[in-house]
């Protein structure tokens, strides 16, 4: 008999890749035979993981239909099985997988729809984080403000697409209305957890660039310059207030602001 590490490795190969040669010698079932018994496990692994992906990516599933989704999910599960037991956290690389999956080539927007669904999933399951201390921020001397660096709540993701993934998403919510969705025009979205659950907002180009710069760790001054370059009318104070109202900022770093003061 194989040692336990090899036995489990062989079992894994049989479940994921259908390569059952090594494990079939080790197992038995008098009713349905070793291969019949193994198929019960393989079937469960495939169906349960496909169901987990369908729960996280319901709009993708609706767009491609159940059968195609199961086909794509099976290929993904083989290539990139979960690495941890919380299935709500499975699928981080599914959007990229779909982007490179040849049978999906006629649906160029599908990967971005998947990215939106993944961001919504993360927004829902992210742990709680503190909300920014607005009084402490307001108490900073005005000259320190441009050097402030913010930390975003872990539920926040920014997403840009050259397709109207927001309209596609809305058009595929229950009850689905018949109609044509205009795919063009692109979308810049902020996905986050609002009071009543995961949500997304559509952003203007300057608002998107502003948040993106801050999320990358640039200072408030640097982010404001980037936003103003995109839109000279960009209202920094208004947008910052809106971000605080939405609770998407978790903390700021005045220490770094002081340190960098010349």
């Amino acid at each position: 008999m194989l040692a336990l590490p090899d036995l489990q490795d062989a079992f894994r190969d049989a479940l994921l890749d259908g390569n059952a040669k090594r494990i079939l010698r080790e197992i038995e079932n008098r009713r349905v035979g070793a291969a019949g018994a193994l198929a019960i496990y393989r079937n469960h692994v495939r169906l349960s993981l496909t169901a987990a992906l369908r729960t996280t990516f319901p709009v993708v599933c609706r767009l491609v239909d159940e059968r195609f989704f199961a086909f794509a999910a099976h290929a993904y599960i083989q290539a990139q099985p979960p690495s941890a037991p919380c299935l709500a956290e499975y699928g981080v690389s599914f959007p990229d997988f779909l982007a490179g999956f040849a049978p999906c080539r006629s649906l160029p927007y599908i990967a971005d729809v998947a990215r939106l669904e993944w961001a919504l999933n993360l927004a829902q399951i992210a742990p709680h984080a503190p909300t920014l201390d607005r009084a402490a921020l307001a108490a900073l001397p005005a000259e320190a403000l441009p050097r402030v660096v913010f930390t975003f709540s872990p539920s926040v993701r920014l997403l840009a697409s050259s397709y109207a993934v927001d309209r596609i998403w809305f058009a595929n919510q229950e009850p689905v209305q018949a109609g044509v969705v205009e795919l063009g025009g692109g979308a810049r979205l902020q996905v986050y957890r609002a009071v009543d659950g995961a949500a997304f907002d559509t952003l203007e180009p300057a608002e998107f660039l502003f948040r993106q710069a801050l999320q990358r760790g640039l200072t408030l001054g640097e982010a404001a310059e980037i936003a103003a370059a995109a839109d000279p009318m960009f209202d920094l104070a208004l947008d910052l207030r809106r971000m605080m109202q939405e609770g998407i900022l978790s903390s700021f770093n005045p220490a770094q602001a002081k340190e960098m003061t010349p």
């Binding site: 008999m1 040692a3 994921l16 193994l38 496990y41 037991p85 399951i125």
Partner: protein, 289 residues
Amino acid sequence: MTRDTKPAGSALLRTGIGLRGPHVATVLADRPTVPFFEVHAENYMDRGPAQDTLLAVRGDYPVSLHAVGLSLGSAEGINRRHLARLKQLADAVEPALVSDHLSWSVSGGAYLNDLLPLPYTEEALAVMARAIAQAQDALKRPLLIENPSSYLRFRGSAMHEADFLAELVRRTGCGLLVDVNNIVVSAHNLSLDAGAWLDRLPAHAVAEIHLAGHHRAEADGETMLIDDHGDRVAPQVWYLFARALERFGRVPTLIEWDSNLPAFSVLLDEARKADRIARSTEVRHARAA
């Protein structure tokens, strides 16, 4: 009989219900009379909205945490990050019971999302015992280990499954979660004697019983029982449940239902049936005494 040393309080000695996502809102709104709820630990990790909901349930009910992800039987060892998250959850929930399975799910870092079978050998015993001890040390509480539903056996298995569990109890001090449906499923699929299986277990270690439905799958003129938790408890499982009660006494009992989840009232109905059977078993005991 050392029934009084079992970890459960008397409030748990009626039949509880496995709480699934679609029923949570109903339970929080209606607050039905249920002695305890059991949840899958993996659905409530980290302090976020899901854990908030569980803590709201915990405000009114005892909660049992049933983990499926420790992969105690993996040769590559327990997932430490997952154990740390389970510890955070257990510290927040203060569960009445914590359990996982006699199985493995991880090989080469891939989590296969099934409770996969082990060969019952000295090597597997050492792997399981080490992982259980690690989990119990981290959680600072005894772990209950559940017998799996099986569809195959390993040619190299050297021990009876019940003896393997008994040896884990002896080595680690863990408790046992006896899934009566799994015994019926495994016994049918592997041509074993379900009653004899029960009789081999160390009764003092049995701290919880699971009941669930299964379905029959026909292939090539043969029937396999599939443990899908997708139906009412089958007659032969109720029969074996009564026998388990006679042997183990009244321990916390749970109705589990996962696929084709019905209305919550159906689960209440199954729990009441389990309580009726338990009462009539006690009456028989009293008459026999």
